[in-house]
């Protein structure tokens, strides 16, 4: 074999990602250091054997502190740099390996969950002298929670117990007894000495009673590619490609299952159906694609598909729901605030979510369940979550790619928690517990949702923007473009104007000063109700009378009432009005028109004064005002 053939073979090898877990001083660094060092040696030997003048470098007699190979991170840890996981790379002729090396200190839960999320296998270390201890149980529980299907229990420091078979067997028995409660399909036991190298790379002659593989041999041969879900096709659209008018491709990493050319597919959430026309890649079209391939699919029909949508087989859809139960791991230094309206990201879909209910917290050491009100760093709990838009998911156990999600804090943008969906939550299961205090509130017509909760949910303070100005001044134009803009920015907003309210709510009222007052009284009460429930209200009314404006402010609440004045004079308004109101007045057909026969009392106390000629600027003015006063966004 020459170097070329060697490389040809080498590039065909596959990848195994594994996690190492152990408590401090079990020998994790020594073991990893040895794997990295000895595998490099193996490679070197192999390569120099290829050459004629092969000069073998001997292994024997060298005293190396393998743990030192990893030292890069110790100093950083002292500087307070968070290291939840460090990735190490090594390779043999058969496989490439990525080790997720997670420090075993205080933050073990967060660290292990992070490192284990992408692992196919976990190596759990045990000190042969100590046997199965609390930490071993904790590590194993976290491994099962993450759905890692293969575990190697590496019983280390066998040299310190005279390579005694009985010690090993006892540990195996203890572990097996405990692990039956957890769902891990493939468990292997290897006695070894990381320091002396027994059963790490080569099978040791010190333990003739052990007939299995060395750790490295095991890692090289364990079969993991079938661990992926190849049965339920889920294609979460990541990016829409439209390079030319006649090419519309939907790019994604296949999450699970096999997608084939010609397959009938259904788009979620629209449920429209089409057929796969082609599966495109830079290296040529494919007949089928499987996880984790990243491809681009085109469809036979022109249907609407965007990022966050999912292509599935119509006869095998995922659950589509806004309510689900999940195991949640709290990752944030800040403890959970149950009112927070998080961003949730699952596959390529982002929406808002709230933790409705904490069913119980799990003690990772004893696996006991506890009732709690809120979660703190490293807590693991079963929770119920409700999202704004439905998610398309499968239980994590069945499908990691569609069962995993993260929660992002809407203010700090930190990844506050990560979760694994256990299943759909059927509505109605949530018990409605009403306390006597709450009954009291309902009786008073107060509702059970506090102002704070509204602010968190909508990210806004329920307030009224009251736009005053003559007929034809352009106040409606401002009101509706403001509503549009706020809506687009994610605000929850309602506009009230003369036309819409006078057609129904105030249909019996005319335009006399008395009826105008009554009309505005009604509007003010509606605005107040809406504001009470967290909604921003835009009111566009001439409101020519100073006194009445003050009464309106009184009803709504002075701190929630924000007066804007459209400062247009009557000549401008006559030109600008899009109807014949002013002409009809001239002809004497109508009366009671502000600015003409009714005095328009210019507001002196307006918070915002607008120039009708510059709408774009007005819009920005209001938006700046809302943001400065933390009305929207509130955060």
């Amino acid at each position: 074999m020459n170097i070329k053939e060697f490389l040809d073979q080498d590039q065909k090898k596959d990848l195994l990602r594994f996690l190492t877990a152990g408590s401090v001083d079990d020998g994790k660094s020594t073991l990893i250091g040895r794997l990295l060092f000895d595998s490099k040696k193996l490679y070197e030997d192999q390569l120099s054997a290829l050459k004629r003048d092969s000069k073998r470098v001997g292994h024997a007699g060298e005293e190396i502190d393998y743990a030192l190979l990893l030292d890069g991170l110790k100093a950083e840890r002292e500087q307070g740099i968070t290291i939840d996981v460090a990735y190490r790379y090594f390779s043999t002729a058969k496989r490439k390996f990525i080790i997720a090396d997670t420090p075993g200190h205080e933050q073990y839960t967060r660290n292990m969950i992070t490192g284990g999320s992408t692992a196919n296998l976990a190596v759990i270390l045990i000190d042969a002298r100590k046997g199965v201890i609390t930490q071993t149980r904790r590590h194993t529980f976290l491994v099962s929670l993450l759905g890692i299907k293969h575990v190697v229990l590496a019983v280390n420091k066998m040299d310190l117990v005279d390579y005694d078979e009985k010690v090993f067997n006892k540990i195996v028995e203890d572990y097996k007894e405990f692990v039956t409660q957890l769902d891990i399909p493939d468990i292997n036991f290897i006695p070894l000495s990381a320091l002396k190298g027994d059963n790490v790379v080569d099978v040791s002659d010190k333990m003739p009673w052990y007939h299995g593989k060395s750790l490295l041999e095991f890692l090289e041969t364990v079969h993991v590619s079938s661990d992926r879900n190849f049965s339920d096709m889920r294609y979460p659209v990541q990016y829409v490609l439209r390079p030319t008018l006649d090419f519309r491709g939907f790019s994604a990493k296949v999450a699970s299952g096999i997608i084939r050319k010609g397959d009938e597919v259904m788009v979620l959430p629209s449920r429209q159906k089409s057929k796969v026309k082609s599966i495109v890649t830079y290296d040529g079209d494919l007949d089928y694609a499987f996880p984790p391939q990243a491809v681009t699919v085109t469809l036979e029909d022109e249907i609407d598909v965007s990022r966050g949508d999912m292509l599935v087989h119509p006869d095998n859809p995922p659950t589509v729901s806004r309510h689900f139960e999940a195991m949640l791991v709290w990752m944030d230094e800040e403890k959970m605030d149950p009112l927070t309206q998080f961003y949730i990201k699952q596959t390529t879909h982002t929406t808002r979510a709230k933790v409705d209910h904490i069913d119980h917290k799990i003690d990772v050491n004893t696996l006991e369940k506890h009732d709690v009100d809120a979660l703190q760093l490293n807590d693991i709990a079963k929770v119920v979550i409700t999202t704004n838009e439905p998610l398309y998911f499968d239980p994590y156990k069945k499908n990691k790619a569609t069962g995993a999600f993260i929660l992002i804090d809407p203010v700090t943008h930190n990844t506050s928690a990560v979760g694994m969906i256990t299943g759909e939550y059927k509505e109605g299961k949530l018990d409605l517990r009403i306390t006597s205090e709450q009954k009291d509130k309902i009786h008073k017509g107060q509702g059970l949702i506090s102002q704070d909760e509204y602010v968190k949910r909508y990210n806004q303070k329920g307030s009224t923007i009251w736009i005053s100005g003559l007929h034809g001044s352009g106040k409606n134009e401002l009101a509706f473009s403001l509503e549009r803009k706020l809506f687009d920015l994610g605000a929850t907003v309602i506009t009230l104007d003369g036309k819409s309210t006078r057609m129904g709510l105030s249909r019996e009222l005319d335009f006399s000063p008395a009826d105008r007052a009554e009309h505005l009284r009604r509007i003010a009460h509606i605005a107040k109700l809406l504001n009470d429930q967290g909604i921003i209200t835009i009111c566009s009314f001439a409101s020519n009378d100073e006194n009445i404006r003050n009464q309106v402010a009184e009803i709504i609440g002075k701190d929630r009432f924000h007066l804007a004045y459209m400062d247009a004079d009557i000549d401008y308004c006559k030109k600008n009005a899009d109807d014949d109101l002013y002409e009809r007045f001239e002809k004497g057909e109508i009366s009671n028109i502000p600015g003409l026969d009714l005095e328009f009392q210019k507001p002196e106390n307006a918070k915002l004064v607008m120039n009708p000629e510059d709408m774009q600027d007005n819009l920005q003015k209001v938006l700046d005002y809302l943001s400065e006063n933390k009305i929207f966004p509130a955060g």
Binding site: I3, D10, D14, G72, Y87
Partner: protein
């Protein structure tokens, strides 16, 4: 029978494409930093694959320190033309006009002004909210814990205590105005993977990677190429011809060559696998005291 398993390289490729698309989908104004090195060349190929048959939807940007090897610039200009890339070239104009360079100002000042400051200047100028870089975790011990999405505050600073947990393939792309991320789609690639991929995909790379007779000077134990007449005469006159190649490419006065016979990818890999020396140790700038990688990162260097 159909096979549902991927080789290591194909799996890495898929992972990187997924990351690149995710950033393009979730950020408003991404840019790909193009250093002309082998890792950059791989990264650009992955971007082309990610959006095929479309074009890469963001620009590439080269931070030119004005002291790069001439062959790098030739290579860059040739491929930009050939491939039609949208390339921004930025350099620190003020420092350049003041004549900043490694021979006169030392490697530390030069690197800070012509690389770090130039990069920050460009990021501010174009208001990029995500910048792809070709760094790999196996390059250096301290990179082992690096995130794929590395969060930077509005001063482009990296706060070691404020990095977000990163799980599965779900990346948190939420940032406030002015903040940004650096993205490392090649995080899980090793040096061997890069070479294998270049070989498999026939990706063109700067010829300096291959051994050839070149004029070099020994400066403090580093073999420095005589690339132009800006190298002071006292060094230039000591130049000797040696068969050398470069393991990494940067500013020519700051990048040491190694003596080598490897003039093909196969031979490079063979040398690499049998010489126990980590890749970055041939970069002179890393010998600067105080300026550890962490420190530079905090200041905004990649």
């Amino acid at each position: 029978m159909e096979s549902y398993s991927l080789s290591n390289l194909k799996e890495l490729e898929a992972e990187s494409i997924h990351i690149i698309r995710e950033v393009a989908a979730e950020f408003e104004n991404p840019v790909m930093l193009y250093s002309i090195g082998k890792d950059s060349s791989v990264m650009v190929r992955l971007a082309e694959k990610a959006f095929y048959p479309g074009k890469v939807p963001f620009p590439l940007m080269h931070i030119d320190s004005k002291w790069k090897f001439r062959e790098m610039i030739e290579f860059r200009d040739k491929y930009v033309k050939e491939k039609g890339w949208d390339l921004i070239v930025h350099y620190n104009k003020k420092a350049y006009e003041q004549g900043v360079g490694p021979f006169t100002h030392g490697s530390k000042v030069h690197t800070d002004l012509m690389k770090t400051q130039a990069l920050l200047e460009a990021l501010n100028k174009y208001k990029f909210d995500a910048a792809f870089g070709g760094a790999r975790r196996d390059e250096e011990k301290s990179r082992a814990k690096e995130r794929i999405y590395s969060f930077r505050d509005k001063y482009h600073q990296w706060d070691p205590k404020n990095q977000r947990p990163e799980l599965w393939d779900i990346y948190n792309a939420k940032i406030h105005k002015g903040e940004s991320i650096r993205v490392f789609p090649l995080s899980n690639w090793t040096e061997l993977d890069i070479w294998q991929y270049i070989r498999l995909e026939n990706i063109p790379i700067v010829p300096l990677y291959f051994a050839k007779e070149r004029p070099v000077v020994d400066i403090d134990g580093n073999l420095i190429l005589v690339d132009d007449e800006r190298m002071p005469e006292e060094y230039r006159k000591k130049a000797v011809m040696k068969k050398v190649r470069f393991r990494t490419l940067g500013c020519y006065p700051l990048t040491g060559a190694i003596e080598s016979e490897a003039d093909t990818i196969e031979k490079i890999v063979e040398e690499m696998m049998t010489v126990t020396k980590s890749e970055r140790t041939t970069r002179v700038i890393d010998f600067d005291q105080e300026a550890s990688m962490e420190q530079k990162k905090r200041e905004g260097y990649f």
